[in-house]
Symmetry: C2
Subunit: 332 residues, 2 copies
């Protein structure tokens, strides 16, 4: 007899589960080795907490009432609960704070698009470390995690959350028109991007600049090419990206990093450097993160912060692909 489970959820059978447990352990070991202590928070929170951390228009989490009529919600990531935890339990702890997690999160999604309703995330949060130093530390831990998982070919794209917001403001594009452009950028929809920019009424040169910028990715050399496009917004962002990139080179963790001026993350709380992990063998991103300075002020003291999370299941699929590739190479 078949009893279906909700789309976007899954059962894991013993063979896969053993591998997932091994991967869990390996990631937690890497995080702890780097000084990050694991925390766990309830999957069920008051809706007031979860909503406080979300963009007003998203509301993509599950909600229900408890026996007292209080509105509860399932967490949709771990950054919001950890921001709540830091304000509540670590207000007086010495900073920076280094916390990590391995936990399920839940989103009301469109499973037809292959989105997961329930998924496991493994990640870290570095609370109270500002700027390029903090960002480089977080990316360094991410690299160590990818190394430990044997994902040699993964690439970390490094971009900046404020780039297009600032650039569009410079071009005089605001409000809904700006959101429409940002939407096209986030989905890498070049044709739609040009259409939205022309609709916003900015000139051909500005449109061209915006499109050209979104195509720039590579090593340190793309910083110069971005600067050649010109303008204040680009100059400011490029300077900040350069500082982070130089830190990474200094600490020997820039090998996998590709500067990506086309990067735009979906979550609302990022403020500075942002990054995503791609695996060339897979269509999906494996995870991502960035700075979210200003976000913790929603819950308590305004501490600078950065972090990342990896989708455990996707990392596992990438591991299997990688193992298959290695086996093939050994055989041939």
């Amino acid at each position: 007899m078949i009893h279906p489970i909700p789309p976007g959820t899954r059962d894991v059978l013993p063979d896969e589960m053993r591998e997932l447990r091994r991967l869990n352990r390996l990631l937690i070991d890497v995080f702890e080795e780097a000084g990050y202590g694991e925390v766990s928070t309830p999957a069920i929170e008051y809706d007031e907490v979860i909503s406080r951390g979300e963009r007003p228009q998203s509301a993509s989490h599950y909600r229900f009432f408890d026996e007292n009529g209080d509105l509860l919600a399932l967490r949709s990531d771990m950054t919001v609960p950890i921001a709540r935890l830091v304000a509540t339990r670590f207000a007086d702890a010495p900073k920076p704070l280094r916390l990590c997690y391995l936990a399920s999160a839940y989103r009301a999604v469109t499973p037809q698009r292959g989105e997961m309703r329930e998924f496991v995330q493994a990640g870290i949060e570095l609370i109270g470390a500002r700027g390029a130093d903090g960002t480089a530390e977080v990316i360094g831990v991410l690299e160590a995690a990818l190394d430990a998982a044997g994902l040699d070919r993964t690439v970390i794209g490094l971009g900046h959350a404020d780039l297009y917001r600032n650039l569009l403001t410079e071009f005089g594009v605001d409000g809904e028109a700006r959101d429409a452009v940002l939407g096209r950028l986030a989905t890498h929809d070049l044709v739609g991007l040009e259409a939205e920019l022309s609709e916003a009424g900015i000139g051909a040169a500005a449109t061209e600049a915006c499109v050209a910028l979104s195509q720039l990715r590579g090593g340190a050399e793309v910083l110069e090419r971005a600067r050649e496009i010109g303008g204040d917004a680009i100059e400011r962002t490029t300077t900040r990206l350069q500082r982070t990139y130089e830190k990474l080179v200094e600490s020997g963790t820039a090998d996998r990093v590709q500067i990506d001026f086309g990067l735009l993350r979906d979550l609302g709380y990022y403020s500075g450097a942002i990054f995503e992990v791609y695996d060339p063998a897979l269509g999906h991103i494996l995870g991502g993160g960035g700075r979210y300075d200003g976000f913790l002020a929603k819950f308590g003291p305004d501490l600078p912060a950065a972090g990342f999370s990896l989708y455990l299941e996707r990392v596992h699929v990438a591991q299997m692909e990688e193992e298959a590739r290695r086996a093939e190479r050994t055989a041939s």
Copy 2:
């Protein structure tokens, strides 16, 4: 700033989390060593599945609608999802099946009474092994888990789910009157028990028999004392308990086991032998289990089954108590 979390949920900070991870690993290792493969299922299921496994009157799980208007529910234990999984994914697998889990479950509780709204359970399910042999195997794994956790002083109470149901039928007590008596038995409320029995109109001798029986606990000798109370229902149950107990003695796993004629588990699906783990140092039970023959037929083939689950947090508290006690003895 304090942001409350729902009563009956908790945050776990790094020191405790490290210990919980260690305990997790240790329990899963014991289960796998015994041949039980870990599975994972979604925390969110269709309500139809969760409700199918519950007693009609309980409905103590959280429910909410998804984007298509389908009613979803948070699982309230792992036995129901595993029954669903066995019917769906293991219908043709050779039996017995040995599965284990370590997972969060959710109940709409009365947190004022100290009940947990979210809790982690570690347990096993043995599917397709009948009678005393199956029960003894499950109790053997439970003992190995308690040993590995260093809980030398825990006691496993062994009883029978059908004892009082059958006994009351023998006494002509049925329906609501029977449920009222069973309720008093489950909460070990002796005064209430006598009152309900007298209300049900059974004679003084039957009342005395029932009360005396509920007080019987100990080694093999209590089987004889139960038989002396007399009656068919007691005779049948005692014979079955004896068979299980003898199996445990045979396999060298009876040391911790105390036959307990007063035992009655809260969950509706138990059918034969039932057991609970007590720690003398703690007020709570640490977990329990039993046979649930007949339960799997709600989802697919009617396979005999038995299992147990431990409350991870309570096992951890018991471990800490035990360590403190050992440290004290070493110091004195």
